[in-house]
Every structure is written in C-alpha cells, then in structure tokens.
Symmetry: C2
Subunit: 299 residues, 2 copies
C-alpha cells in the first residue's frame, strides 16, 4: 500500500508516532516527537489567559492568537481594547495573498475606534538589549546577525536590540506610511515562506497557536496584493474576545514548550539532525522559523 508507505515517506511532523508496540526498538537518536514525549511536565509553561485571544469566524471556526505584550505593549493594549469592546465583530478577512499574508480588520469609516486607542510611539518594532533566557539557534540566517528564542518567542538580534520575527503563523499589525500608524485594527498573519524583510518594519504582536488552517485554506484574492475584489469572498469575523474574560470553566488552556530548557535544546538539535530509517542525510542545521516551540492543550 503506497499510501500507507507514504505516511512514513515524508514523516516529519510533531505529535505523530508511527512506531508500533511490536516494532523492534530502533537504534536511531530520539526524534523531536520522542524528545517531547520523554520530557517532564515542567518544560511546558502555561499561557496566560490575558494573552490569549479567541477569534470566531463564520461557521464556528475558531482561531486562537497568543499575544506578546512584553514585545509590543502599546499595540497589544490596543488589540485587547478592540477585543474587549467588541470592535472586531463584523469585521472581515479582506486579503489573502499567496505565499505572503492573510489580513483582517476594517476601516474607521466602517466602525469608529473606541476611546483609548493609541498610535504607538515609538513604533515597537524592536526592544533594546537582550534579557535573560535568550536561546540562540546556532545556524546561519540570511537576515540577522543572530536568531533564536526569547521566552518561547522567535527573535533576531544585532546585539544592540532584539525583535520578534515574521515566521509562519506570526501575527503583526498593518500600518500606513508613518511608522506609528498601526492601531491594531488591521492585523495579518504569515501564510508562506517567512517574509523576514518585514522584521523591524511592522510590529509583530503574537502567534496563531490554533486554527491556523482556517486562515490559510482560503481563496487567494485576485486584486492587487491579494485583496478580495468581490466582497462575497471575505470571511466574516463573528467575534473576538480574550480568554481572561471567559468564565473559568469555559477557558481553553494551552501550554508552550519553554525554550529556556534542555528539552528545547534537544528538540532543536533533533530538528537539525533528522535521523530514522527514512532520512539519507541530515542537514546539520535548521532555520529559526522551522524550530518554533510547539504548543499543546494542557493535559
């Protein structure tokens, strides 16, 4: 059965364990999945309810965004306010550009912004220095001197500043020409090969940790830059809210692999050095955007 074989053929993914109980113990190093399975519960960090935003699309599809206030406090403040005032309800996914971004939101003409929204100044594209917990990825990068993870977020640094980077699934704030014009009313997520030239030019504010497939499996827009020409193609955003505003019993609970752990080091090493019966040759390196710490529902 070729399809069955194909399951192992391009075996790569986390959380898929193809080993059966009957199979002899392989002599290969642990795979990324096996490393996670063997790790203690302490390597998983609970995500804070106030940093989790749930976006419900038409048809009950749910997208969960993990916000990064430690990197972009003013932008995240705006986004929380827009969520808590119900401002996003009735807004739309307006743009899907292949190998680039899915963008959603609406204009002030369509819905007046609530009081309290600020124009973030400075623009929050980067932060000074590098605090405790930076975990470098020791392989080459085309865009920055050094890349890695800080508190489980993908970052780059020139040793003077550090900044969140545009990996697949990261969420950032659309803006006009002036650097401080992004209010949070228009957001986008990366749906292709990481457009890292946008780093330090637009404010990255979070990461989609669930429901990414609902943002990617959408018709591409046929207008300039992938905007939908036909409004009927737009997907409606029914509501957006913070998990911290939900009743305790209703809250989804997520955890992320803490990048400041030996387990994460092993995970990255295994991603860079694929073993097992399928691989002929390990690259000996891995891109930062292919090393993102996994997220799981709290067991």
């Amino acid at each position: 059965m070729r399809y069955t074989a194909s399951l192992s053929a391009i075996l790569c993914c986390l959380f898929v364990n193809s080993a059966s109980a009957e199979a002899p113990k392989p002599s290969f190093p642990l795979s990324p999945t096996e490393i996670l399975e063997a790790a203690p519960a302490t390597v998983w960090r609970d995500l804070e309810p106030e940093n989790l935003m749930v976006m419900t699309l038409t048809g009950g599809k749910t997208v969960v965004i993990y916000l990064a206030p430690e990197f972009a406090p003013a932008h995240v403040g705006n986004i929380r306010l827009l969520a808590q005032t119900g401002w996003f309800s009735g807004s739309k996914i307006v743009r899907v550009q292949d190998n680039y971004v899915t963008q959603w939101g609406r204009t002030e003409e369509e819905a007046k912004l609530p009081a309290g929204i600020v124009k973030p100044t400075p623009a929050e594209y980067d932060s000074p220095g590098l605090g405790h917990g930076f975990k470098p990825i020791p392989y080459g990068d085309a865009y920055a001197k050094k890349v890695g993870f800080l508190h489980s977020w993908p970052v780059a640094t020139d040793n003077k500043a550090h900044w969140l980077i545009h990996c697949y699934g990261m969420v950032a704030v659309g803006r006009d020409m002036a650097p401080d014009t992004g209010t949070g009313q228009e957001l986008y997520t990366v749906i292709g090969h990481a457009p890292r030239h946008l780093d330090r030019n637009l404010a990255v504010v979070g990461r989609i940790i669930s429901g990414m497939e609902f943002m990617t499996a959408l018709p591409r827009g046929t207008g300039p830059l992938g905007f939908y020409e036909d409004p009927a193609q737009q997907t409606e955003i029914v509501k957006v809210g913070l998990v911290s505003d939900m009743a305790e019993a209703d809250r989804p609970r997520y955890q992320i692999l803490d990048t400041d752990t030996a387990t994460f080091d092993q995970f990255v090493h295994a991603r860079a050095n694929r073993g097992g019966p399928f691989f002929n040759l390990a690259a000996g390196g891995v891109d930062v955007c292919n090393s993102m710490p996994p997220v799981r529902l709290k067991p």
Copy 2:
C-alpha cells in the same frame, strides 16, 4: 482610506507598480519590480515546451509545472511518461498538510503503471560539482554551506555536490523507505516555510509556475500527516499533459528571469535592501527561497 493605504503598507510584491504618473519621481533606489521593468528582453529565457506540464483540476483550474530534467533526468522521464500515457487522469490530491506539503497521485493498485517506468538509481537527490552559471546568494543559510541559483533553479552546494532545494512551490517526488522507490506517481509541492531538511532526501523535480493558489487554498486534511480522511475532500486531477504535445497555437509560453545576468544580481540586491517610503530599515540580506527568479507569460 485605510485599505488604500494598506495597499502600500505591505507593499512587497512583484508586478505591482503603485507609482502614479502624477507622483514626483522618488529618490529611492529601484525596487525589484522597477528593475524588472527596466531590463532588456534578453534577460528572460523561454521555457522549453517539453519541460512544461499542465495539470487540469476539477472546475477547469490549471496548474503549470516547470520540470528540471537536468537535475533529475530519470524522475522527469517517468513523470513525462505518466503524463503522456494519461496515467494521472482521475488521480487525486490526497494530502494537504498545513505549513508543509500538498501531495497528489495514486497507488499502483488504483492504476497500473505503464511500461517504461523505472526506479531511479541512483536516487537523483544531488549532482556532482557545480557547472558554469552558479549564482551564489551571499547571505547566511541554516542548511548548507552555500546557496544560490543554477540555470534559474534554487540550489545548495557543499562544493562537492549541488542539489535542488525545497523552496515554496517546488515539486518533488514522494517515496517509500528505500531511496529509489519514488517513481513519480506521487508528487508533492511545498506550501509553507521551506522544509529544507528534505533536501537530498527526496528528489526535487520542478517548480509550480502558475496556479499555485489552487494547490494552497485547499482544506487541510485531518488525518495523520494531513491526508484526507474523507475521500470527498480530495480534488480530482482531470488530466495532465506536456505543452510539447499541444498544438503550437494552444501552447502557453512562459519565460523565466535568467539568473546568470546582471539584472538578477540587481533584483536580489534590491530584495535584500528594501527601500522606498514605507521601509524603516533594510535587512541587508534575503533568504534564497525569497529570491526566486520570477516567471512571466511571454509578452
């Protein structure tokens, strides 16, 4: 109008010229688009009809694949034979795994392979040396000593061998555990951040140059590795054929930017050093998979 502003906000794309005739001439360096517009016709190379494969999906959606026989002659030989014998007609898109691959084809149980299909040995993952025309991309890479383009194809090299790499939109051959088991009856294309750990492990045979959006805007499969659990979700492949087998008048004519030109050097430099009124800061580098030479319909 924020939407209008947003058009320039994430302005990045080829083939979109936002400059109006009334606007004052900007003092910025030429953008990648402007470089292409200013280039002579000679920097564009015609794609050979025998290397162009047209795949028609249900609903008349058309996907065009540019084949690379110079890198994988046996695999491309198989694929041409499968196309010319009509073997792909009635096969299906069976797998869509988010941020990874879309895979299509079928089993030998479903359709007997035509005579002449070979098991490529050696497996055609790489080729010795580096011939004339290698254009290095002079920025860091996480996976290989050196990356760049050879005859307009994205490649990596360790100076002893060179190989095609798994950039977004590249097409490769699924296989079983043994390296020589990929016949070409199952193909996949990359729909996410380049899974470069697959380089030298699976045979890359081409690139989707038109219709990529029909391979990406598909529901993600919910089975292991993104295989569709419900066959009703599979997209049918109505037919696959070579452009060289079409009547002259019906043939689509494509051209690719020749990477062995000064125009391509300028293009890559401009991609690495974004200018214009929108960008605060240029990265000074660009990933090889974000430097792919553009393809156009022959004017």
